[in-house]
């Protein structure tokens, strides 16, 4: 396999709330390889968006990366100064947000918002920038691109606005695109269209993507590999089929069990009891999922499990699979 585009190793992110430090991300380790779409799933509040914000250096003011490595190709992202960040953002790594309506500036024309990325990262002439912007607008499926160039965001429908946001992210031809719930705010029919656009981008542009979603329908449609996050930890990772067909972590299993499906019609949908603990309520030095886990045993309350390779690329962070605890335990398949 070729060298990864992005490597994150043992990254911790903390929030400072009222002079108290709260760990929001713990020991985050993963890589993204060329032409690969990595999905991050989990309930809200698990740290999916925070992970992507850390990668782009746009964490909220009271959050800091405490330790760990983040590398884009050979660039150490943690060492970057503001000036160097600006060269990476948009040009190498770009981001697509959930809410297209608020992600766009209401008072700036669509064309200007898209072409701005070219203005900072290239030295094209004005005409060339406009030409490329209109081409990009056509590529993301915006009709009458020449007319829409001068339109303001509120004149567009939600789906079209999201296409504009995608065009903004693609215009400077980045090789890593982070999409943070890009379809969540849209109507179901529009969701399908935008998802189709993402698939087109995936196959035509050959760029890597991190695709954040809580919706397995979306994940299953586009991702090659999946990271499952819970309460600031990556609890399981593997290829799409490994995760979907052979989930290991009890949290992943529960999530998959909770997917609505026409075959389950008539049966009451499974839900995971309890909710993701808030930042202030998180226990340290125990398995973060223990409180909601149906397989909880003594090891779970003693220490945080290490991530354990199941086979190949498939790994889980659960005491059921750790050598110290799990193997000594009589665990029958569920």
């Amino acid at each position: 396999m070729s060298a990864p585009i992005l490597t994150v190793e043992n990254m911790d992110v903390s929030f400072k709330i009222a002079s108290e430090n709260y760990k929001a991300l713990e020991n985050i380790t993963f890589s993204v390889y060329p032409n690969e779409v990595v999905g991050i799933v989990g309930e809200s509040g698990c740290g999916k968006s925070l992970t992507s914000q850390a990668i782009l250096g746009i964490l909220p003011k009271n959050a800091i990366v405490e330790q760990g490595k983040m590398k884009y190709k050979h660039v150490d992202l943690r060492e970057l100064k503001d000036k160097d960040w600006r060269k990476i953002r948009g040009k190498n790594i770009s981001m697509i947000f959930q809410e297209p309506m608020t992600a766009l500036n209401p008072l700036v024309t669509v064309g200007k918002q898209i072409s701005e990325g070219l203005k900072v990262h290239t030295s094209y002439s004005k005409d060339e920038m406009k030409k490329r912007t209109i081409q990009m607008m056509e590529k993301v499926g915006l009709p009458r691109a020449k007319e829409l160039y001068k339109a303001y965001p509120h004149q567009l429908s939600g789906g079209m606005q999201q296409r504009v946001v995608i065009a903004i992210a693609l215009i400077a031809e980045p090789d890593l695109i982070i999409a943070d719930e890009p379809t969540t705010a849209l109507d179901v029919t529009i969701q399908a269209q935008i998802l189709a656009l993402f698939r087109k981008i995936k196959y035509e542009r050959k760029s890597s993507m991190i695709f954040i979603s809580h919706d397995w329908g979306v994940i299953r449609n586009i991702c090659d590999r999946v990271l499952v996050m819970y309460a600031g930890h990556i609890v399981e990772e593997g290829t799409l089929s490994e995760i979907l067909n052979n989930p290991k972590h009890p949290y992943t299993k529960a999530l998959i069990q909770a997917i609505p499906d026409h075959r389950k019609r008539g049966i009451e949908l499974f839900t995971i009891p309890g909710k993701v603990p808030s930042l202030q309520d998180r226990k340290r030095d125990v398995c973060p999922f223990a409180d909601r886990c149906s397989h909880r045993f003594d090891a779970c309350d003693k220490e945080v499990p290490k991530i354990e390779r199941i086979e190949g690329t498939h790994a889980a962070k659960c005491h059921l699979y750790t050598k110290e605890a799990g193997l000594h335990r009589d665990y029958t398949n569920h």
């Binding site: 782009l56 600006r86 953002r89 040009k91 947000f97 992600a103 500036n105 903004i168």
Partner: protein, 314 residues
């Protein structure tokens, strides 16, 4: 268009109500107005004549209609003291007050907007508390007292500006500017503080918006994010308070003209109150109120024209 018609109709209704209010208040002059105007020991014949001139022998409704009909034809009545049509007197005074107001608004924008932007950058806790108290001080200072302080500093001590009096623009442009500068600044100081506080707050609010994150992720410089994105969105709300600021400026000029002895509307208003020239006072109050309403109306329309979200709606 519908918005415009709605605003126009409420503008006109409000003018009508204001004119009725003013007329009504002046009907409340205790006792016989003619007697009050002329004084207790006036000649009864004169009183009778004035009664007729004021139309006191007719009903209030008739007199109101007369007044309004006159106003619509540009006839604001006749001043008792000057024995001249009110409109002739006002025309002489308006340029002074208008110069004062315009210069003061220019100062407010030219000083307030850059300071507001500059201060939005400094979000250090100590600095922001200091600025908070300082701008509140600007709002709290009585403008006429600030006028004294300016006179004390710049006219008496430094002798940079004339203390009192008025030089018409046509006579000496620089001289006029010098004579208007201190009074305009005295009126502007409170408004500058308001603009700074308001702009700083909207910039800080706008900085938290998602579109700012989008702009940052594009790789834009903070400078370009501020001027290309945040400022556009912050200045529109500032425009909405411009109407209020113009009203404040006109209100402030009533007092300031008296501090600096400038022969404007405010100066005339106080003189005519002291000399009991009620027809003049009544018309002037209405005139000033209409200017305020008109400016608010224009700001309302302008605001909608500038904001594409509203301009391009249907």
């Amino acid at each position: 268009m519908r918005y415009f018609l709605y605003k126009l109709s409420s503008f006109i209704t409000t003018i009508i109500i204001v004119s009725m209010m003013i007329f009504f208040v002046f009907q409340l002059l205790p006792g016989n107005p003619a007697q009050i105007i002329l004084g207790i020991d006036a000649d009864p014949n004169q009183v009778a004549q004035l009664e007729k001139q004021l139309g006191l022998d007719r009903s209030s409704a008739e007199r109101y209609m007369d007044w309004v009909a006159g106003l619509l034809q540009g006839d604001l009545g006749e001043s008792l003291r000057y024995q001249l049509p009110v409109s002739d007197i006002l025309i002489e005074r308006i340029p002074v007050t208008a110069s004062l107001a315009i210069l003061s608004i220019i100062l407010t924008v030219v000083i307030g907007v850059p300071l507001g932007i500059f201060i939005a950058h400094s979000d250090g806790k100590r600095v922001s508390i200091f600025l908070n108290v300082l701008t509140q001080l600007g709002i709290s200072i009585p403008s006429f007292w600030f006028g004294f302080i300016l006179i004390l500093a710049f006219s008496v001590t430094l002798q940079l500006f004339p203390t009192y009096g008025y030089v018409p623009w046509s006579e000496d442009f620089l001289g006029a500017l010098r004579s208007f500068f201190l009074p305009s600044f005295a009126i502007a100081v409170g408004n500058i503080a308001i603009v700074i506080r308001y702009l700083r707050n909207t910039i800080l609010d706008q900085s938290k918006m998602d579109y700012v994150r989008t702009a940052r992720v594009k790789g834009l410089k903070e400078h370009s994010i501020l001027y290309g994105h945040i400022l556009r969105n912050s200045l529109i709300p500032v425009l909405t308070i411009m109407g209020l600021l113009v009203a404040d400026t006109l209100g402030g000029s009533i007092i300031i003209e008296n501090v600096f002895s400038l022969p404007g509307l405010g100066n005339l208003l106080i003189q005519s109150i002291t000399s009991r020239d009620f027809p003049l006072v009544q018309s002037m109050v209405l005139y000033i109120a209409i200017i305020v309403l008109l400016i608010n109306f224009i700001v309302d329309i302008l605001y909608k024209v500038i904001d594409p979200r509203i301009r391009l709606k249907g």
